[in-house]
């Protein structure tokens, strides 16, 4: 069964109640800094930073808040997408190792990213 088909139907397993280990790639860090510093509206800048904090918390605590996006041909992993407006994050959950990877740049919601 693919992760898309099982979606939220994860088999119940007893596992240690520890947060997911969340890692960002250097590319994500750099791209996020570029994104934030490129925003000219100070209010939106602050919103983005606070939303990023919320997103980080969700990803460590309950990454299933998002939706499965596609199956990967690597170790049966699945790519997910989560929206914490004004941000969108794509990530990969490794349930076995209880890890979450954020390796792709965090984006503004597409509508917000479009020029006026």
């Amino acid at each position: 069964m693919t992760c898309l088909r099982r979606s939220r139907r994860i088999l119940p397993v007893i596992e240690p109640a520890v947060p997911y280990h969340l890692s960002y790639s250097p590319r994500v860090i750099q791209a996020f800094a570029t994104l934030v510093t490129g925003i000219t509206d100070p209010n939106l800048q602050k919103q983005v930073v606070v939303a990023a904090k919320d997103m980080d918390y969700r990803l460590r605590t309950y990454p299933q808040f998002g939706e499965p996006l596609r199956d990967l041909s690597l170790e049966g992993l699945c790519q997910w997408i989560g929206a914490v407006p004004p941000l969108v994050v794509q990530y990969v959950i490794d349930e076995v190792r209880r890890q979450v990877f954020v390796g792709l740049p965090i984006s503004l919601m597409p509508r917000l990213a479009e020029p006026d």
């Binding site: 596992e15 960002y24 996020f32 919320d54 790519q79 929206a83």
Partner: protein, 131 residues
């Protein structure tokens, strides 16, 4: 043991309408394991179980602490609620990066050890990261 299962099933039933049965079972197990960890600290003879420690007060303080964290986090989630991912957003996301790019990004993180949210904040102008 029967009580443990009953408690977990009760939590499970509370969560089920929102999470779906198997996932709510997973979260119920996590919550139960956290409760066990707290109980272990309260009961350990060298810690909360040490003679002279007011366990009732200790449990009350733990409860208050949880409530404080809960209030803070609920405020944060209210401010920035996650939203369902609609088909247009899914389609947009799938067009952004290929599967190969996704896998390469995982390998990069594994090879470099990955970075934390503190690293992410450190890369931002300081005035934006002050609480």
């Amino acid at each position: 043991m029967k009580e443990d299962i009953a408690m977990s099933q009760t939590i499970d039933a509370l969560l089920e309408p929102n999470l779906g049965q198997p996932l709510s079972t997973k979260v119920a197990n996590d919550l139960d394991a956290l409760c066990e960890t707290i109980a272990g600290i309260v009961a350990m003879p060298e810690l909360g179980g040490k003679p002279g420690v007011d366990q009732k007060l200790l449990l009350q303080l733990i409860h208050e602490r949880i409530a404080k964290h809960q209030a803070k986090l609920e405020a944060m989630h209210r401010q920035y609620p996650a939203r369902p991912v609609d088909p247009a957003l899914r389609e947009w996301a799938l067009q952004q990066f290929s599967e190969e790019e996704v896998i390469a990004s995982i390998k990069e993180i594994r090879e470099t050890g990955g970075l934390t949210f503190d690293d992410l904040l450190a890369a931002l102008p300081p005035h934006l990261t002050r609480d």
